[in-house]
Symmetry: C2
Subunit: 226 residues, 2 copies
């Protein structure tokens, strides 16, 4: 009997898509279960991720794993083909460092810059600039963060590669462009053009609509705040 692999995700979530991209890179077939994360999470999701109650969850032969970066490490150790982490312990540590940097520093900055209250947005925009500058410098002439092939840092940075450029179109912000971060901008083009990445991304127009609704909602809530 083969492996039973299921992914509990939300179609527009970059975190869910990380897991799907890693499985596709490895050629691991999986069943995808869409979660209604806004108010109607399934009993199975709550059972499998009782601590955070969030997607993504990977279910492998009945055993659940939560937290996208933890899942990526598990996928890497379980299915050896097409490694997403370098073998050398130091290079591996560097990849972990950058993936963590994206989650701990970049994401909160992006969120505040786009959905934050008005007087926070400018400062957060500067933080985003610092984050992108740091990523630009880490890229340093490489095709991908992983070198010649897509690795864990590229997967973790999928938000920058796909979602961020759509967000800019929605909000009119100029966070990442060919002028301010040419290498990173080029990387986003390379990244979304890869066959397996393309297959793992949601339709752009639907993401645009979701982001637009979310931004409008945040702005409206701020306008109506006491």
């Amino acid at each position: 009997m083969g492996d039973e692999v299921k992914v509990f995700g939300f179609w527009a979530s970059p975190f869910s898509r990380r897991v799907e991209l890693a499985l596709r890179l490895k050629g691991v077939p999986y069943e995808y279960i869409e979660e209604d994360i806004f108010g109607n999470k399934s009993p199975l999701l709550l059972q499998y991720n009782p601590v955070h109650k969030k997607v993504p969850v990977l279910l492998h032969n009945g055993k659940p794993i939560a937290e996208s970066l933890v899942i990526l490490e598990y996928i890497e150790e379980t299915w050896k083909s097409n490694p997403i982490l370098p073998e050398d312990p130091y290079d591996k540590a560097m990849a972990r460092f950058w993936a963590k940097f994206i989650d701990d520093k970049c994401f909160p900055a992006f969120q505040k810059a786009v959905l934050g209250v008005e007087n926070e947005r400018d400062k957060a925009g500067e933080e985003v600039g610092d984050c992108l500058k740091t990523l630009e410098s880490e890229l340093n002439g490489k095709r991908f963060f992983g070198g010649d092939v897509i690795g864990m840092v590229d997967i973790a940075a999928n938000f920058v590669g796909f979602w961020l450029r759509i967000i800019q179109e929605v909000t009119g912000q100029d966070l990442l462009s060919v002028d301010n971060f040419p290498e990173l901008f080029k990387w986003t083009d390379e990244f979304v053009s890869c066959g397996v990445v393309k297959e793992s991304l949601p339709p752009k127009d639907k993401v645009w609509a979701v982001i637009k609704a979310r931004v409008d909602q945040a702005m409206e809530a701020q306008t109506n705040a006491p």
Copy 2:
């Protein structure tokens, strides 16, 4: 020529002590370099951790690694004796999940509960309670989070094992006691009694004084706030 291993740390930091504890568990000799993290960081620290400019940094044969959990993984992969992570990929994923939970959920809650502004402290106290309840349930009769021996989750939880009980003495808060979380309380006793942990912890009276000064400073700043 043997390995050159250096740790850039701050004596009272639980994050620095994580790295030292892991190296001691593995029997890896290292040179410790104390950093003056309040306003006078060394040029070497800034060079080795330009992104976060924080301790701890592990320097192994001239190559720097930052972020304590990333360092722990590197130590585990580089020095094989006395493993701090299980071999099985699923168990390893669970250890990573809990270490991440401690950093992402517990630490921010602890910080707000102790140093936060007055009207946030009660709510944060509840969050701390939720975190400790979750850890209590994960312990579930085991001697250590790692089972019979200390593992990465125990190391990551050193703050709960040592610092938290001192904080309670300073502030008079009742966050963790034998009555509310008996297993976790017992674990803190087991943890700090282990020879190698005891050697890796700072003197209690000095930590008490540092925490007292920090709490007083936070409260004073709040009293003087406009």
